[in-house]
Amino acid sequence: MSPVDLLYTAVAVALFGLGLGALALSARPLKKLLGANVMGTGVFSLLIVTARGPDGATDPVPHALVITGIVVTVAATGLGLALIRRTRSASKD
């Protein structure tokens, strides 16, 4: 692996681990949600690193997978925010 790829892979794994930690260990729901997003960013970054093919040609499949993943994560985050609002207003009643 080239040094650049090594660095990117390390960053991807670090984001994944930090995000997982935040998701699992944070007390506040908003922080957990952000942790999930960071975790997702880590996975997507790893996929993008994979997209660098030999001779500089890029593999479009990981790019498509990342786009799909991002959209799914955005949708899940939106649902999460609505649920957080719901728990806050429901506990006020």
Binding site: F16, L25, G53, A57, P60, H63
Partner: protein, 213 residues
């Protein structure tokens, strides 16, 4: 306890990194994706993957957007959010930017078959424009929740319609198997519907997630 688990996650990450470094990378599908691209009707390889090779993934992903938009709207407490950006600067900016945003979104959608772009990029930009309008108090269409949900389903509808249509029309039809001659047009049609659908879905998510006063 928290520290213990945190250390555990750190170790897992290290193990993952070590495993990745130790494993040689496979060549991947780049060459194959490019060599077969003529049959897809587009020249942007990522669009070919998203709307042809792995179109079924994209269909399910649009389902996720739709269901999240519906669920968020159903679950969020029904408190109207006041306009959050007040003042003449914000309103003028919204007025000036919106036509440009719509044009750019249309361009991104169109160019997606040849260059980086496509439905998702266009939809994100369009949704940004819609949210800008929403936040300055000029509620953009779609306005009612029911209509917003229905528009959010347009992408799924387009995929199902085209997918079943090509299967029924062909001799041994397979779902979503575009005939090479009209594949480009079919993809553009699906992408147009998907752009509207995703933008409406994102708008619905924003409306559901907006904090009240």
């Amino acid at each position: 306890m928290t520290v213990l688990v945190g250390v555990g996650f750190a170790l897992v990450s290290l193990a993952l990194f070590a495993a990745l470094v130790a494993t040689p990378e496979a060549p991947g599908l780049g060459a194959l994706a490019r060599s077969e691209i003529a049959a897809t009707g587009v020249s942007n390889p990522v669009t070919a993957v998203l709307l042809d090779y792995r179109a079924y993934d994209t269909l399910l992903e649009l389902v996720v957007v739709l269901l999240a938009a519906v669920a968020a709207g159903a679950l969020a407490p029904r408190e109207p959010a006041p306009a959050q950006l007040d003042g003449p600067v914000a309103e003028a900016a919204a007025g000036l930017l919106t036509p440009g945003i719509v044009l750019m979104a249309g361009y991104l959608l169109w160019i997606g078959s040849k260059a980086p772009g496509g439905a998702f990029q266009a939809a994100s930009l369009l949704a940004g424009g819609l949210i800008l309008l929403e936040v300055t108090g000029k509620t953009p269409p779609p306005r009612s929740e029911a209509v917003t949900r229905a528009v959010a389903g347009l992408g799924v509808l387009a995929f199902l319609g085209v997918g079943v249509g090509v299967a029924v029309a062909a001799a041994n039809g397979v779902f979503l198997d575009h005939p090479a001659s009209i594949a480009g047009s079919l993809i553009l049609a699906i992408e147009s519907a998907a752009t509207l659908g995703i933008a409406a879905g994102l708008l619905a998510l924003f409306r559901a997630g907006t904090a009240s006063a």
